[in-house]
Amino acid sequence: MNANLKETILNPIFKGNPITVLVLGICSSLAVTVTLKGALVMALSVIAVTGISSLILSTLRNTIPSRARIIVQLVVVAMMVILVDQILKSFEATYAIDKQLSVYIGLIITNCIVMGRIEAFALGNKPIPSMLDGIANGVGYGMILLIVAFFRELLGSGTLFGFDVLNRIGYVPNNLVILPPFALILLGCIVWVQRAIQKDLQEK
């Protein structure tokens, strides 16, 4: 794998993480991180939508009329989001979780990560690297989501993926953790840790 491709894939995971560095996709990360299961489904949905939308739009990039750029992007992304939602509704295993996340899956259309990556990368690069960039950003986003959800589910409900963990030792779930403001505070701490490790990300 040439160095450029490797950079494309690894950058969004840490150094160019969409949430903690690019500040994109914040709204949904607050809402769906109450449970690990929800965070996982959301992350996988964003990976699928960003990856495939990037692939499609990159393939079309030389044909898109400049004045209709935003509309074409929105239409393709909307199509992907609706497809993901429809597919999740059809399988028994995912039906219940889709009901829970339906509002937020719909909001992926306005998730800045998708549009942001399409504008910044897919419209100027070849299809395969664009798809990989989309997927990698989705993974970077998902990683942060899972970290936040881990703490929120553990401290807020005493469970992990629905299985009682802290509840077994008599822990009383902390309601404040379930509320969205706490997710913001957690994100602040994650950014703190990341920048302590990567000093060049620190602001002057």
């Binding site: 109450v34 009329p65 004045r67 399988f91 028994e92 379930i178």
Partner: protein, 268 residues
Amino acid sequence: MNTNSNAYTIIYTTAIVVVVAAVLAFVSQSLKGKQEANEKADTISQMMTAAQFGSKADFQAKGNTAVLAEYAENIAEAFTVNSKGQKIADFDLGKVYSPSELKKLNYIIKGAQDGEAELPVFIFKDSTTVVPVYGAGLWGAIWGYIAFEPDGKTIKGAYFDHESETAGLGSKIKDDVNFQNEFKNEYADFGAEKVFEIVKGGSPKEADGSEIIDNKIDAITGATMTSNGLSEAVSQWLKAYAPYFEGLAPIEEEVAEEAVEETIAEEE
């Protein structure tokens, strides 16, 4: 081809929209059957959970086919009644009401739309009656089912669902079995202004702190808006069903009391 010309822009955009619409229509049609099957099985599990045939989690684990089979085994009657409580017609035992159908009924019940209300009533073989409720929560619609003992007054159980209430707070109407269990053994006061109430700050209690058997239960802490919405929904819909329940032939008092005592004894 000049990608900037007006003609190109319009043709291209139209083409993309048509292609996308076609793809979505195709996928939606192909998946519709599966989606409706999932929704139906889910609605049935909700009704049966309210009627205390098992917990929602149990039904989730059983899978669609088993749920449908269990329902077919246990359901006895399904019919609609009008606003005077008179039976209109039976309907197919396999039919259940989706939230969007409940939404339409809700417009009529609230008086926002003209029309004769056709309220569904479900009766299981053990004489448990189940009726739906529907209303507005904090962020979106909330709905559910209330199951009544054979006396047509004492509540056997309840189950609720929602579109988008706050996770961990309003969503408790669905996820918190303890909240749903509070409905058990309370009764619906069909003659009262508010047939049933979910009270913020707590419903009246006995001197020793135990729950008084009345038509009130505690609201969910931190989920006042959702609790109020649910209280409204339950009260309004039960008020609509009041003529039906009040018009039921009173079954022998002892038989009714025995049934309730049995349920309480089972739980101890």
